[in-house]
């Protein structure tokens, strides 16, 4: 993974020094809250419903075991012994004291982590396919490009006061696992007919109160032009994006207002001024960054897989886990293991410090000391030798980290909701827990098959409910929490915005409504059809009839 150089360390050290001073001045009254708020937000510090919250970036979802241990230490020393993995490859600490946050940041800096630009109207954490560099369907590893974008966007002086926050996601695989269609800029790595690397650039995707699927801005951008082109897009947005109304300030509104053709023309004009500037990437720049992401020293495949074969034959629990949680690796003899943070009775995406340490140990013992964080609030052990899967499964099972529900109904994305978030209008996690409890029969879950269910506690859509097969949006109706249900959303290559099926329901009716939707699906399903395919074939009527019977 990318290792900080002297410049990176100095930059971070200076930044923490500045923030330490800003906190001291706030506490002494030299800064009032209006002056301090934008400063703390630039350092990832929110004042939430119950306490301050610190959001820490995990760039493109890549964590070392050392970093995960440090997160565990911080959770215990400064918080309440756990962290919450968000939907943008961040981790959030829900209970820090303001007076401690400079020390937390200093300890994070020691392991090359920070919270800069995890909030505010700037370019946020760069996210990526969590299977970057290991997926069997990969065109090219997105991590070097993510790191190039991260460095370009970090404290970029021109883009520190954008009209609104700005999110970029990168995928290098045939299948989109990074939700690139619903980001301000989505980047897909491609090869042209000559075999050269380039980028398909999408723009103007996003969720929130105006959900929009991103539009193609450029089919194939040459590799060398990545930064100059992004700079041109950001300049056009920075100049023409609305600042008079925060609800109209995202780039998706600008693209929609201008039309993609006119927007593209403005970008093109700006790009011609920038294309041959210092932002042009030379082969040496790219190779230098690629060198930070070498292929690990994989061992030759072990031929004796008798224990693995026997366990799959004899132990249904292992067989189910191996089928659901282990993915094809590009390296023969290795597998990718999904670690579910959607466990019975546990808040979605939460992980205790002792579990972090245990997983860090497993990452070292069964891999190369690396962990990935997914935007679906799960973790990944990326490089596990296949013959060691039985032993790893036993260890994960003992830790309650072997739930084989990847991509199934109980693999629910839930935002923190009104239990934690100052913006939320309804709770998310308790509703997610009630649904997961209703669907706790693994046989039934596997019969249902692929199905995404996401719950947001307000219109800001942090849980991406608009692009879930079943989306749930909590809203406040005259002081009561009620939940709207949408169907037909998808965040992948067939990205689509879900459609609301009827009036909102009280929280206690939501699990039964989901059960009705699933029953309708099973009644209408043809063969092994996925939920989304059945929905697209039959429309929403059979589902409405069950929910509003």
């Amino acid at each position: 993974m990318y290792r900080y150089d002297e410049f990176d360390h100095r930059l971070l050290s200076q930044r923490i020094g500045q923030f330490r001073d800003q906190v001291a001045r706030r506490l002494s009254g030299q800064l009032d809250e209006d002056a301090f708020r934008p400063l703390r937000l630039r350092n990832g510090v929110y004042l939430q419903l119950n306490a301050y919250m610190l959001r820490v970036n995990i760039p493109y979802g890549l964590l070392s075991s050392r970093q995960l241990r440090r997160l565990a230490d911080i959770a215990e020393r400064y918080d309440r012994g756990y962290g919450h993995f968000s939907t943008r490859q961040n981790i959030q600490f829900n209970w820090p004291r303001l007076v401690d946050i400079p020390d937390m940041l200093a300890e994070l800096a020691e392991v090359e982590m920070h919270a800069m630009q995890s909030s505010g109207n700037c370019i946020r954490n760069i996210t990526a396919d969590h299977l970057a560099g290991i997926a069997a369907d990969e065109v090219a590893d997105p991590r070097p490009y993510c790191e190039i974008i991260r460095q370009w966007s970090t404290l970029h002086p021109e883009f520190s006061f954008l009209p609104r926050k700005f999110k970029i996601a990168v995928s290098g695989a045939a299948r989109d696992r990074a939700a690139v269609h619903v980001h301000d800029i989505g980047i897909r790595i491609r090869r042209n007919e000559a075999g050269e690397i380039g980028f398909h650039i999408l723009v103007g995707g996003g969720l929130g109160r105006t959900p929009v699927i991103g539009k193609t801005l450029r089919e194939f951008l040459p590799e060398a032009d990545l930064l100059s082109y992004l700079e041109a897009v950001l300049r056009v947005y920075n100049r023409y994006g609305r600042r008079d109304n925060k609800y109209k300030a995202r780039i998706k509104i600008l693209v929609n207002d201008l039309g993609i053709g006119a927007f593209a023309a403005l970008v093109e004009e700006e790009w011609q001024r920038l294309r041959h500037s210092a932002l042009r990437l030379g082969p040496a720049d790219i190779e230098r960054m690629k060198a930070h992401f070498p292929r690990p020293d994989y061992l030759p495949p072990v031929n004796d897989t008798s224990e693995y074969e026997a366990l799959r034959r004899d132990d249904p629990a292992f067989d189910r886990w191996a089928e659901n949680a282990v993915f094809s690796h590009r390296q023969p003899g290795y597998g990718i293991v999904m670690v579910s943070l959607k466990r019975s009775g546990r808040p979605t995406g939460d992980m205790r410090a002792d579990e972090m340490r245990a997983l860090a140990r497993l990452a070292e013992e069964y891999g190369f000391g690396e962990i990935r964080v997914t935007h679906r609030q799960n973790l990944v052990l990326p490089d596990v030798p296949l013959h060691r899967l039985p032993s790893l499964w036993r260890e994960l099972t003992a830790l309650d980290l072997a739930m084989p529900n990847h991509g199934l109904l109980s693999d629910i994305i839930a935002c923190p909701g009104m239990d934690y978030c100052a913006l939320a209008t309804a709770r998310s996690i308790p509703v997610a827990q009630a649904i997961a409890e209703r669907f706790d029969d693994l046989d039934y879950l596997h019969d249902i098959g692929d199905l995404s269910l996401n719950i947001s506690g307000c219109i800001n859509s942090c849980a991406h409910h608009n692009v879930a097969n079943i989306g749930i949006l909590g809203v406040d109706k005259r002081g009561q929490e009620v939940y709207q249900i949408t169907l037909g959303g998808s965040s992948g290559d067939d990205a689509a915005i879900g459609k609301r099926i009827g009036p909102a329901l009280p929280a206690e009716d939501v699990p039964a409504a989901i059960e009705g939707i699933v029953e309708a699906f099973l009644a209408e399903r043809e063969g092994d059809e996925r939920f989304i395919d059945t929905y697209r074939r039959v429309g929403d009527q059979p589902f409405k009839e069950r929910v509003y019977a």
Binding site: R26, L27, P347, P430, E481
Partner: protein, 102 residues
């Protein structure tokens, strides 16, 4: 009976706090049961006290909330404020212990 209490976040810690007025003295406590109840006529003066605490860098963002008082117990009317008073409602071992009895 319905009344109001003044709530805020403590500046240094970020925790939820409530105003307890003892004569000229104001204290900001984490237990809503210790909060002073205000009627409509007292609220303006209470907010002046809160503004002084903001100026003294003790608290952030004070506001009044409606509460119900039954059997001597103070309970916020809105769910949002009940969560602030008692802590998150999520189940599981990473859920924090409530600050005061629900």
């Amino acid at each position: 009976m319905t009344a109001s209490v003044i709530t805020a976040s403590s500046l240094a810690l970020g925790h939820v706090v409530y105003l307890r007025q003892e004569g000229e003295c104001c204290r900001w406590l984490s237990d809503i049961q210790a909060a002073t109840l205000f009627g409509d006529n007292d609220l303006e003066a209470a907010m002046v006290s809160a503004a002084a605490a903001v100026a003294a860098n003790e608290i952030v963002d004070p506001y009044a909330i409606a509460v119900d008082v039954r059997g001597g117990r103070i309970e916020p009317l809105s769910l949002r404020e009940r969560i602030r008073a008692h802590g998150p409602t999520v189940a599981g071992d990473s859920a924090p212990a409530p600050r005061s009895a629900a």
